[in-house]
Subunit: 480 residues, 2 copies
């Protein structure tokens, strides 16, 4: 592959979609699998998922949630037990009909989500109040046949995710859990991936099939489209009744339990790429970067090599001792310029350059990936690298917040909305609460109600569409 | 569930198979899923898998292996690209034929193993010697339709495993990798699960379909049957040729690469249960136990409660500060005896009992799960708990080694073998190397060649079956 081909050949502004695909493939995060709709994760891509998993696992554990394993195959009859749920998922379910040359009795679904399977098990496991709350999480994949063009991390027929399923004795406790999870999601995405989040509720039309209500976190992408980043559902007793998830209370009376389910997927990685990447390629937030610092030793024809390399090694060891993920690019035959481009493409947050002149000055050049600023740092200040990485993390979130703010508009005039939606963005607009208006707006503009932000309920204005009294100010946007 | 039902109702010696199933279900490690052949892991079962995964991940990383993700669906044509491989797996493959109501073009296999998919990707990713070695690992599940009765962790149609796939420039390097992995496997299983291992090669008949040769680790279970604990395959160029995994060497000449693949599954958990469990239930090695120490505060009618509980809390905090996984069983209404049985069933390595009399004596009772020994430890010796857990780990391995030794017999007389194999065990017996003898022995006794231990090749004796010159002394046994 020539040098030109290996870099990104379109700008983020001119062709966002092509830019995104090139970044994913050329930064070697992922690649297309042989089956349409499926992707493979390469080590740098999977490593980001591992980092997120590890962070979530710690937070889930603190909240009393434990991991388990569910098989991928669900019998058709089980998937069909909650009717609305089944109707919602059926068109995109992959069905197993044969094993070897033999037709199997009842066809089996590849899990589109595991409510029906998990709750079949829960109904066996839960007998009394002592067994509650039951809070489990599953790191697996879900499969939903995608007919549109594959978009790595955003639109694939199999995706990595976690799905949590909790059971509670009271409605109040279950509803509290829904919010605790949503808050863990929001904080993790903002702290780790430096992506700002709006949380709130989905409309009735957009809620999870089978839920009482769905809370969601939404983000605005640089192309003006909204991305659903994760959802936390209050299921009420909609599943506990058909699946008989019951418990005997202290007074020995049987009750149906109250349930929640919630999930985030590798779509978060897609959001990270879109939010932070630039024309040179990927830009990784330090907290999730597989490699946080790359050191490029600089010398020509081995001149100064004997001075540079020992210093490089010393700095590497120093950073490693502080658990900073560092790599030395000591590849021969490749120019520093080539290496700089390579690591910029891959989004490494900080580059350190050390050549013979730096050794003389007892300092090194540091280059930040996210704003491409270069500066000098004396060897004695090596202890500051950790802080610098933290600063980068903060700056990236701040920049993304500013962008999101610029992309968010309050609006009440429908014709103005219709014109502005063409350029994308989040639009906060009053809505009467009627499905009819929601559907008309979708039909005429392609925009959905993405989220009714918390605090934007019960606001008495006039519906942007029908001019009747509004019940809330949702965010409308076109979505992924 | 009554007290009697909740304990194990058969002895390990009298009905090993029923004993095993009861331990798995009643210790709440796993449960049967609605589809025949599939199981669900509950938190205590999955936690053991997480512990193993974490240990392997660290060792793999040190050896330059990185994790990735492969989708579960493999097109039929791809699975069929290496003929022997396909013929070997085809009868047990689950096939997806529909998505929603639509028949899909080419039917898709649920991965029985990922060689064909991984190497399709590798052939795209590898161009030159710079891209080698390529060493990746995948934590996923494999699916192989089981027609026999489900045995949790041992015989299921979907199982958790890791599959590693490496590519090398030279045969020598690939063969070395095969052995490095086998050694990581052996050491991890012995150190973490306290199960002794025999390593060596599989016979031609028993090797992985598509491999040049297969190295294996085998263990003998207490019922005298052998269990294959993991395999590491040298694939030679058997896959690199059909899948065109090629690289340009420094001299710019193209070569086919040399490959390895290797895997262990949750079967290791099954082996752990069988090896260490007893008539009271599960016995967990401290290193993988989700809970290493349980503290049971003892008082009647709240008498002494005010003295006992603060001390219990102090000890819990002390152990937690040393990263010992500790739990306090402060459930009301349950007797100490009930709690002891409960935690013994669940295999917690160490129980601490503290009552008002212990407070007076400034000491606690400690009860080891693996040998059921009780002793007294003064409060001032709390710092020794970590050592005691280490000792338990060592004692468990020693005991298992002694058992394995007792179950291993050198034998050269075939009629003696035929009689002794009925009681199970490992039998080291000379073999001529001919498939015919191997097949006859299997036919007449049900015993396979499990492994040709390293160091047992080229031994010149007389084949147990045909009396011709032997080429090795394999271990024969009936297997799971």
């Amino acid at each position: 592959m020539g040098k030109e081909e290996s870099g990104i050949t379109v700008s983020k502004n001119s062709d966002f979609s092509e830019w995104y695909t090139q970044v994913v493939l050329k930064a070697k995060l992922a690649d297309y699998a042989p089956v349409k709709g499926l992707i493979v994760l390469r080590p740098d891509g999977y490593s980001i998922w591992e980092s997120l998993r590890s962070t979530f696992d710690k937070k889930f554990a603190k909240n009393g949630i434990r991991n388990g394993f569910l098989p991928i195959l669900i019998p058709e009859s089980l998937l069909g037990k909650e009717e609305k749920h089944f109707a919602g998922f059926n068109p995109e379910v992959f069905w197993v009909t044969h094993s070897g040359d033999n037709k199997i009795g009842e066809k089996l679904a590849l899990r589109p989500t595991s409510e029906t399977l998990a709750y079949t098990m829960y109904s066996k496991w839960i007998q009394s109040w002592r067994d509650l709350p039951l809070k489990m999480n599953f790191w697996n994949t879900a499969l939903r046949a995608e007919i549109k063009a594959t978009k790595p991390f955003l639109r694939t027929s199999e995706f990595l995710w976690q799905e949590g399923h909790t059971v509670h004795a009271t409605q109040e406790e279950a509803e509290k859990e829904v919010m605790i999870i949503l808050e863990i999601y929001k904080k993790t995405v903002e702290d780790e991936l430096a992506i700002p989040i709006v949380t709130g509720k989905k409309s009735e039309k957009e809620k999870f099939v089978g839920a009482e209500y769905t809370t969601t976190m939404e983000s605005i992408m640089p192309d003006g489209k909204a991305l659903q980043m994760g959802t936390s559902h209050f299921l009420g007793q909609n599943f506990s009744k058909p699946f008989e998830v019951k418990f005997a209370d202290k007074d020995n009376v049987e009750h149906f339990a109250w349930q929640t389910s919630w999930g985030v997927s590798w779509r978060l990685i897609g959001a990270m790429i879109m939010t932070h990447g630039d024309d040179k390629g990927l830009v990784l937030p330090p907290k999730v970067a597989p490699m946080q610092v790359v050191i490029v030793p600089i010398y020509k024809n081995d001149e100064g090599k004997d001075k540079v390399l020992p210093k490089v090694d010393e700095i590497r060891k120093n950073l490693e001792s502080k658990e900073i993920r560092v790599h030395v690019d000591d590849r021969n035959e490749l120019s520093p310029g080539y290496k700089f481009n390579d690591w910029e493409l891959k989004g490494v947050p900080l580059r350190i350059e050390i050549g013979p002149k730096d050794i003389e000055k007892q300092s090194m050049v540091i280059a930040k990936r996210h704003n491409r600023e270069k500066s000098s740092l004396s060897f004695s200040e090596i202890g500051k690298i950790g802080e610098i990485l933290d600063e980068i993390q903060v700056e990236m979130l701040k920049k993304a917040k500013d962008q999101a703010k610029d992309n968010t508009t309050s609006i009440s005039d429908y014709s103005e909305f219709k014109s502005k939606i063409e350029d994308g963005g989040f639009f906060c607009a009053p809505w009467c609460g009627k499905l009819e208006c929601e559907e008309k707006i979708k039909e005429e503009t392609g925009a959905d109600i993405r989220v009714i932000p918390f605090g934007c309920e019960n606001i008495n204005k006039k519906c942007m569409y029908c001019q009747e009294q509004s019940i809330s100010i949702p965010i409308f946007a076109r979505g992924y």
